[in-house]
Every structure is written in C-alpha cells, then in structure tokens.
C-alpha cells in the first residue's frame, strides 16, 4: 500500500499560533482524522520554552519585553530556544507503526534521515543523540517530541542564520558563560549560512528534508495546503489555551527535580530509587545547561550510579567528574553531585510522607 506524507507550509506565523497548530495536528492525527504530515513553518522573533520548563530559569523575560519578543510554551519537552525568521522549523506527525516501534529508535531514525537530507546540500551533517544534528561539533538542529496514542510528533528546528547576539540577550545561559555569553554560544551553535558561505534557500532545505524523510520511511510526498479542520482547531486551541499568559507562565513544575541555579549554572537531576530499598538508586538522568566532554561522560556516569546507595553514588559521581579526562562547561562536578543528592533526598522524603 502506498503511504502518503502530506507536506504543508504554514509560513511565518505568531509563535503561540504555531504552537496551537502543532497541537491541532497531533490531536487530529491521534484521532485518525488526518494522514501523516510534515509541516514547515517559521517564527517571528520569539522564545519557546519547554512544556514543563520553569520559565524564570530559562528566559530573560525583561529583555523579551523590552525587545517586543513573544514568549510561547511548546507542546513538546526540553529547554528554551530562541526563534527568528532565520530558523526553519517543522513538525513531523506520524503513526508509530510507520516508523521504528521503539520511540527512541524512531527519533534516531528521523534525525538520521534529516541529517542525510542536509548532507545533500553540502553540509557534513551528523546526527548526535538524542536529538541533535551537528556539523564539525557545532549544533545546527535541535528537536523534541510529543506523543499520544498512535501518534508521534517530532518537532525540529534548523538554524539558517544564527543571531547569536540576540539569543544571548533573551536566554538565560550558564553563568560561567555570562561574561562571554556570545562567544560560548558561537562555540556550540552555527547557522547553515555561515557553513555554506551563503544564505541557503529555505525551499531547497524543505525539499531535501522532505525527500530524505520520505525515502527513509517509504512515503510518497504530496504537497498540500492546511486543511480547514486543522486551521479551525488551531484557532480554537490558540484562543482557549496557547494564547493565554496563564498557559505560558504558570506551568506546574515537577517538584521532584532538583534544579541548581546560580554561580555554577543550571543542572536538573531526575532520580528513581529502588522500589524495595529507597536508599538505593535504581536510575538517574542528568540534564541542564551544561556540556561535558567526552560527550559520553554524563551517560556513562548515569549508568555507573545504578544500584548504589545515594552517598556512595555521590562519591563516585564526584570522583568521575573530577577525572582529568572529563571536562565540564557550564557547571561543575560539585553542582551535579548536589543536584543528585538533593533529588534523591526529595524522592526519599516523598516516599516517607
């Protein structure tokens, strides 16, 4: 059976409407009322925070207001991003059965396909797990996701032109970069225009990405316009929810997460304790506005702490992060250890209450 992938382009629209359109596509697809779709879209200058992210930790709200920059809250998770017409964004909404069954495998396959598409434009683009694409160590693409029932929605953004200066003004970044915020961002991010030496044609990128995704998953592309039901539902969701400041500013925050913010940057630790023995760590995840080198250092650390008592895990983490072969940018080993211990203590307190 031929499988169709609708390709639509809703152009440049306000950030909160774009979020509503993403939600509408996910909802309609989840109900089986629309086919798989790839929606390209663009944003005016705006900041998008993750669905459950603490806005005050991530956004310079005063700067956004001063510049007249809209703040919106995404449907998907992850951290805050600065958007502008120099970024091309897309929603890939797809049935789980049409991509690898395991969600992480599906996401990897999607990112690999997009990287292959960008490589055809002359960029040595490579997928970097879990959801980024980089060129020579600098990020050009980031992604996050939304799911419900049969539907996966991969949401990605590629930088055509990176306005690092404005980005540095509106996003909160690791404090050790505050003095050289712009330089720190420039080390990590790059726009395609800088790599190619010319401003890329967004249409060529759309074609490359759509073709690569279609090839990877066996779709026939079908250029289409947004359907009336999609626009109608987006307008309803926009009016009811996504346009509301209460939706953007008042997200309920995960209380079990320890966030260390201050001199050493922002680190979040998620700790799951062993169900039978709350002194033992069963699983741990570490995220935040920091980078580690080698890139595997944090993932390896997370694995090495499984099954350890909290105190011993803290000692092992500190030793591992103090190793001369590990370099941290944006935080310190002490902050990561503090986040781990605090998250574990909160979990233990919640378990006893």
């Amino acid at each position: 059976m031929t499988r169709v992938l609708r390709v639509i382009d809703t152009g440049l629209r306000p950030a909160r409407w774009n979020v509503a359109m993403t939600a509408a596509l996910a909802e309609l697809h989840g109900e089986g009322r629309i086919a798989n779709a790839l929606r390209f879209h663009r944003y005016p200058e705006s900041v998008l925070v993750g669905r459950h992210q603490a806005l005050a930790d991530a956004v310079e709200v005063g700067a956004c207001r001063a510049f007249g920059i809209e703040i919106a809250r995404r449907m998907s998770g992850g951290g805050a991003v600065y958007m502008a017409p120099g970024a091309l964004a897309w929603d890939f909404v797809v049935c789980r059965r049409d991509v690898p069954a395991h969600r992480d495998a599906a996401n990897a396959a999607i990112c690999e396909a997009i990287a292959a598409g960008l490589a055809r434009l002359g960029l040595p683009a490579r997928y970097r797990p879990p959801g980024e694409i980089e060129v020579e160590g600098r990020k050009i693409y980031g992604s996050s996701g939304y799911f419900e029932g049969r539907t996966l929605l991969h949401q990605g953004t590629v930088l055509l032109e990176a306005d690092i200066g404005r980005m540095a003004e509106v996003l909160k970044l690791p404090p050790d970069e505050s003095a050289h915020k712009k330089r720190g961002l420039a080390r990590r991010l790059v726009g395609i225009s800088e790599l190619l030496g010319r401003v890329p044609d967004p249409g060529a990128i759309e074609t490359a990405v759509a073709t690569a995704i279609a090839g990877a998953f066996g779709f026939i592309l079908q250029t289409d316009a947004p359907q009336a039901q999609e626009v109608l539902l987006a307008d309803v969701l926009f009016a009811r929810e996504m346009s509301q400041d209460s939706f953007v500013f008042d997200a309920t925050l995960p209380r079990a997460v320890r966030t260390v913010a201050g001199r050493d940057g922002v680190v979040s630790a998620y700790v799951r304790l062993h169900p039978g023995d709350e002194c033992l760590i069963e699983q741990i995840w570490l995220t935040g506005q920091f980078e580690a080198s080698p890139a595997r250092a944090i993932a390896d650390l997370e694995v090495s702490l499984r099954g350890l008592p909290v105190r011993q895990a803290a000692q092992r983490a500190f030793a591992a992060l103090s190793d001369a072969s590990v370099r941290l940018r944006g935080t310190t080993g002490g902050s990561i250890v503090a986040a781990i211990v605090n998250a574990a203590e909160k979990q233990q307190q919640a378990g006893l209450s």
């Binding site: 109900e31 993750g50 669905r51 459950h52 449907m75 998907s76 998770g77 992850g78 049935c95 789980r96 059965r97 069954a101 395991h102 969600r103 992480d104 996401n107 879990p130 959801g131 992604s143 996050s144 996701g145 939304y146 799911f147 419900e148 029932g149 049969r150 997200a251 309920t252 995960p254 209380r255 079990a256 997460v257 998620y270 799951r272 169900p275 699983q283 995840w285 909160k346 979990q347 919640a350 378990g351 209450s353």
Partner: protein, 146 residues
C-alpha cells in the same frame, strides 16, 4: 485478569482503550483515574507528571494531564466530562512510581463525572481482552515488555 502482550488489565476496572486510561468507581460518586500499562509503555520513563488543578472541569477527549519523558511530552485524555476532585500528590512528587505500579501507587487523580452515563464507551470485564487485542493489532503495538 487479562494479560495481553505482556500488559495486564484488572477486570474490575473500566478502560478508555484509545486513550489508555483506567477508571475505578469509588462508591461515593467519584472515580479514581490512572494510566494503563500501554500508556506507560508508550511514554517510557515518566519523569514529569503534570495534572490540571483540583477544581478544574475537563471534557471528554481533552487532556487532563501531561507526562514528560526526556524531551517527549504526552497528553492523557479524559474518557468523559467531569471535574477534578483530588490529585495523587505522591505521583506529582515522584512521577516514576507510575512505571512500577500504574494501578496502585501510581494512580493519577480522583474525578467526579458530570453525567450518570459516564461509563458509556468504556470497556470492562470480558470485553477488555478483545478490545485491547483489536487496538494492538491495528496499531502494531508489540507489547508492554517491548
């Protein structure tokens, strides 16, 4: 209790199959709600659980909670109209308990249905197995252990 592709479904509960939620009448007009093992398998490790606030009205097929797992967010949709009466504060504080015990400690919230026919469209008892088999077949769902 039906066990289908590694997912267990206690047969005294009512299930909203498309939205992977279960409901249990509490005898005082309220209903306890939670996520099924299928929901957990689709979400994977639940790191954040964010319900709507107590006192919030919700509508059938609309989201009344969200979960997040490593940059992926999912909605939990309601099977009928109602109002949220109470939340499982332990689940908010420790979302990962739902991965270990979605029918017990990992329940989500207590709600009060808006109408007496709230059970219409939900499945229970002997109907659970065929309903989930059909859903799993249609969606290519490999199972809860996959």
């Amino acid at each position: 209790m039906p066990i289908i592709r590694g997912c267990n479904f206690p047969d005294d509960l009512l299930y909203d199959v498309p939205h992977h939620a279960w409901y249990k009448p509490l005898g005082d007009g309220t209903v306890r709600a939670g996520m099924t093992p299928v929901a957990i398998a689709l979400a994977r490790e639940v790191l954040v659980f964010t319900p709507r606030r107590v006192g919030t009205d919700f509508e059938k097929n609309r989201s009344f909670a969200t979960v997040e797992s490593a940059k992926w967010v999912g909605a939990v949709r309601a099977g009928f109209d109602g109002v949220i009466v109470a939340l499982n504060e332990r689940l908010i504080a420790r979302p990962m308990i739902v991965n270990a015990d979605c029918y017990g400690e990992g329940w989500m919230m207590i709600v009060r249905p808006a109408a007496s026919d709230w059970q219409d469209g939900l499945v229970t008892g002997a109907a659970i197995g065929p309903a989930y088999e059909a859903w799993m077949d249609s969606e290519g769902f490999a199972g809860c252990a996959a």
